[in-house]
Amino acid sequence: MIPGISSSIFLNLLFNGFFLGSIYALVGAGLTLVFGVTRLVNFAHSILMVSAMYFSYYIWSVLGVEPFLLLPLSFPLFFLVGYLIYRFLIKFVVDQSFSSQVLATLGLFLIIQYGIVMLWTSNTYTVNSPLRNIVFRFDGVFISLPHLLTFLTTLAISFALYYFLKTTYIGRAIRATAQDPEAAKILGIETNYIYSISLGLGTGLAAVAGNMLAMSYSIDPYIADVFLVMAFVVIIMGGMGNYIGAILAGYIIGMLEVFTAFFFLPLLKHAVPLLLLIIILIFKPEGLLSRRLRA
């Protein structure tokens, strides 16, 4: 593959890239969906993912339930959280200036982050699930079960949501609202309802990412800072509001981060994706994909 590097090292890196890319894809898909429909730049997105990590940790520590098995509960739960955040906060700023949106969502970010610190301190926690120790190995290539589950879940969820957006009545109403809210209103669509559903779906996706991440990462409140920046890198690269673009960009950035950390310096792993973003913004400011390929 790459001269001087054994194929097993390359494959190990590739699989790590698929894992991290899956997390970025989920987080990015949620953030871009919310932006594409409501035009809201949601700075609270990554802290909602981290909240789902704490939720997984809490349930695991009390009941011993695997974060993965929690998915069918945490998606609807965080859907509801997103829905309520829209009804009680975002609704009042969605038509307002960018700075009011920043204030509201960044404010929410900080409230949740410090709420977490108050409840759990800023110590690091780990879900010591037995799943972590299940590792498939062949020819020097290792894939842990949590990584494999993360990748498969991401594929399943992103296809399911794409199918939902393409074929159902609500999905079509969401796309119509994203394209032209006034035209949607004139066709009997309550845009505020669609906005709250979208924030619910976006938050649900962030929660899935959080659950999956909790199986492999240690948990602390400040993970949200890096993920906030990286989520924006993903959705700008994918084209703001472009669902497929965000998923694609999520994998590109996940790969880039893993390979950078190995071949250059772990310290540079976030800098290189940012550099790529700047290059993309110069040569293709609308993002990787053409407009036609938008959901």
């Binding site: 796309r175 119509a176 394209q179 949607a184 209103k185 004139i186 066709l187 009997g188 669509i189 845009t191």
Partner: protein
């Protein structure tokens, strides 16, 4: 059926609509004309609920609409826009199915406006005139009692204007749908409407049959003065 009483709408210092009152009966075909900037589009936006009037009331079948949001009004009041607001990243058929997942009904309406051959085409590939027909078919998916149309004939080829006029007349006589049509192409408008309302600088200056209105000296002056 649709009653406007003393509607006034200002933007900052500009009075876009001044004390407009009018009534449209079930199955009536009304034209709304006036020079550029006379307040026609603003009046449609007040009826659709996009703008809240400074004062005055819109009523539909006796019920005041001032607290009814646009999406609720849309269940009875159809609307097309001066610049068509189609969903360009959806197919023609999908544009209609945003309203209801009824493919058969969508195809029937597309047939009526002669777009069925383009049903699976992306809406952005349609010509401006075809986009207006699509927008019209889409609002008919709502089964409206009245349709507000903003310059349906502008930028549309003569054969399409003919087709659109025929469809409007057919829906009006068969389904008793009322229309309020804003249009600058008076020749085409007068062929379809029963009655014509004229606005100038936000106020109504005439209301009558197309013949009366076109002979009205105040109307002639408003158009010449522009």
């Amino acid at each position: 059926m649709l009653v406007l009483s003393n509607i006034t709408k200002t933007f900052g210092g500009v009075v876009a609509v001044r004390n407009m009152s009018m009534e449209i009966e079930k199955g009536e075909l009304v034209g709304l004309i006036g020079p550029n900037g006379s307040g026609k589009t603003t009046l449609l936006d007040v009826i659709s609920g996009f703008y809240k009037p400074d004062s005055g009331l819109v009523k539909l079948d006796g019920a005041p609409l001032n607290r009814t949001p646009p999406f609720e009004r849309a269940k009875h009041i159809g609307r097309t826009f001066q610049i068509p607001r189609i969903f360009s990243r959806m197919t023609v058929k999908e544009n209609l199915m945003v309203v209801e997942m009824n493919e058969e009904k969508a195809l029937q309406l597309l047939e009526m406006v002669q777009l069925s051959r383009l049903a699976d085409e992306y809406a952005s590939n349609l010509s401006g005139g075809q986009q207006k027909l699509l927008e019209f078919a889409r609002t008919l998916m709502m089964n409206p009692k009245i349709v507000l149309m903003d310059e349906p004939f502008a930028g549309v080829s003569a054969p399409l204007i003919q087709r659109l006029s025929d469809v409007i007349l057919q829906l009006n006589s068969e389904k008793k749908i009322a229309f309020l049509i804003v249009e600058h192409n008076l020749a085409a408008l007068f062929k379809v409407c029963h009655r014509c309302v004229v606005m100038d600088q936000g106020s109504m200056i005439a209301d009558g049959s197309p013949e009366d209105v076109s002979r009205n000296s105040q109307v002639i002056k408003a158009y010449m003065g522009e």
